[in-house]
Symmetry: D2
Subunit: 235 residues, 4 copies
Amino acid sequence: MYGWEKFMSERDKQHDLLWGKKELYGFGKRPALLLIDIYYSVLGLKREPIFESMETWSSSTGLEGWAAVDKTAELLEVARSNQIPVIHVKGLQSGINSWSRNTRMRVPLSDELRQKGSEIVDEVKPVYGELVIEKASPSAFPGTPLLFHLNSLGIDTLICCGETTSGCVRATTVDGATHRFHMGVVADCVFDRTEASHYMNLYDLHQKYADVVDLAAAKQYFQEIGAISKIGVRA
Amino acid sequence: MYGWEKFMSERDKQHDLLWGKKELYGFGKRPALLLIDIYYSVLGLKREPIFESMETWSSSTGLEGWAAVDKTAELLEVARSNQIPVIHVKGLQSGINSWSRNTRMRVPLSDELRQKGSEIVDEVKPVYGELVIEKASPSAFPGTPLLFHLNSLGIDTLICCGETTSGCVRATTVDGATHRFHMGVVADCVFDRTEASHYMNLYDLHQKYADVVDLAAAKQYFQEIGAISKIGVRA
Amino acid sequence: MYGWEKFMSERDKQHDLLWGKKELYGFGKRPALLLIDIYYSVLGLKREPIFESMETWSSSTGLEGWAAVDKTAELLEVARSNQIPVIHVKGLQSGINSWSRNTRMRVPLSDELRQKGSEIVDEVKPVYGELVIEKASPSAFPGTPLLFHLNSLGIDTLICCGETTSGCVRATTVDGATHRFHMGVVADCVFDRTEASHYMNLYDLHQKYADVVDLAAAKQYFQEIGAISKIGVRA
Amino acid sequence: MYGWEKFMSERDKQHDLLWGKKELYGFGKRPALLLIDIYYSVLGLKREPIFESMETWSSSTGLEGWAAVDKTAELLEVARSNQIPVIHVKGLQSGINSWSRNTRMRVPLSDELRQKGSEIVDEVKPVYGELVIEKASPSAFPGTPLLFHLNSLGIDTLICCGETTSGCVRATTVDGATHRFHMGVVADCVFDRTEASHYMNLYDLHQKYADVVDLAAAKQYFQEIGAISKIGVRA
């Protein structure tokens, strides 16, 4: 449906016919939009294909990343104009020892570029009043006050965008489902470095933890919530 | 390395050459063996190919599951004979509302079969003194006292077996890494319903959160720890 | 107000006039009733004064405990008849290493009595359909699926009874406030072994984390919620 | 022992003889020092008695706070000179909705004073390389990466100083015990606004969750750990 079929074996496709998800779970009444780890270091300062971008930014996701950012900017505008709470998630810059044991060699960066790399890209940057959560884990939940804030707002649904599909987006979506939120992942707005990981994680998330939807569906959902909110019948 | 290449695109393979993990992270000094969700309902009472088994057990993993169980039984014996703590994880049977919103039709089961389905299979069943953790989430960490127990024992490394690679094994491995444990996943001892999910999750776990190792390496690690323990120089 | 004054210093009373809580925080729209650790081992099988009861049950709370149990039974009936979800919390019997480092000598008990000691007392025992949460920590939150269940039900308020005021009731109330629930503690329905701890913990909880209310107020709150629920205007 | 007796009833003292803690639990091999919420807003800019200080700083703890800060500075020096990791904890300044429902009137402050109020006092301020954890809860554990960091360092013991004894110190100590750390609370280095709360919380913590020790004992413990560390036999 979203491109995962081309990575599945024939047996997998047959299994999917028997046991695959046939209907969406559905979303709730009080969503928030969660934008996960959309910084320059995973996109680069220029819009370049992944292998060119990696010459400077080792962890870049290339043009697929930028395409997803543009779609995310569209969804962000719809969220803002419908009073859907927006929460940005990024890595905590502190002395906490990292969860990652990764020792890959990165291209050396100047201090200035390294700092720039940690900034949320202009296309989706936070505006006044939007919460920015800093995390020291793949998921946005453990070791952060995200859950406290969602509970205080009565949020029951999280719509996720960002990167990587197989990393922080997946980990956050699993934890959101664990905490009994309705979880949505916008296929057009999540991105990865590895194509097979991107598509198979979308598949896993859709089968087990979330509804994977396209940009149009996510926009429509926010607009419906916004319309209900405006006529004041929301609980 | 463990079979994931055949599911990756050409671009992914090229990316892996540039950025893929080249060296293992390494394990710590005080491991535990974690056996995740190895019940009859995901294996069936008979050893049958997946589609035959699914005629009774909708969520069966078929012969691949049984093959992994046999390897897990081998590793379990090595763990026990080297005084490595063993922890079994299974679903909590209670009135907690499930994290899963899955509404798939399952083959109807008698109460007796349903009960049998929730039992850990004989090949790896707990013996006296081994902890059984019951969970109400995909991962073995949230909503369980697993972390408390690991901390009380000074465990620094978890070696994971069980199912599914793309479900509870993955979620547990991500959470273990988040909590700064050294994580290992035994490729021969984890299993899934979907081949592409199995292999791409192994790939993701190896790239980001864990060392994926084979059965021989896991056995050797436990034997080394056991030998150190016996001569009494372990910290 | 609830008896804490007699344990406070003159300076404390003066401080309370300046900075003490003057108004209740208020409760929300979807409460649950939480009954914490109400077993025979903290009450004894007979209704006896604390020092007599301690001759068999070292951790008994004596007659004050039984008085609170009787009031709790009254509140439980009101909760049940108004469809307020009831959740029982008790200690997990398993191989998890305890959080307590307590090495006090207890009076030796037969296996039968020890087993009886771990049972919830008849006066407030769970009925079919009521959740029983087992915990391996002072608070009912860490290491249990309580939070998942509350979120799945949309609960926004927890009304707490049980023991001890200075132990599991306090720890649970602090964690509930941390997770942004409205917390209530029913002064008549919580109990302790130490009078000063009981009253000063009530004071602390009321000042910082919860509304301490009496039995009548708790009953009235459940009746109001029940009435709203019956006429179907609850959100 | 530490002053709590004068707040206890006669029955409480008798109970304590029967059931009170008689021996320390003992500490572990790898401690960290935790300094909790030691800002100007709870101390004031000048050293004044509590009621004078409250004329500007509503939540001040007065001279008892400053006395504890001076003792904490002594302990901090011993920790630093013995390579004991030091972790500072303070409130998170962000858009997270507070756990506190407190609506008490505070004395109005200028922006400058408010900012100053949120700074850790000079006497114990962090030096380069010391971790500062920001929290949105009473306890330093929930919603922060503290636990991840402690696990990554192999810490098994936390020695706590700061304020308030009945608030963030208590909540943090309970959570540390829940996570199976050895917990210590330095009686001379914790402080509160309410005398009865201070002493009865010390009593509760000592009875259930921690060893309450004096400054001399805490210094000696750090010196012993430092000495072991220097001769290189620490595990």
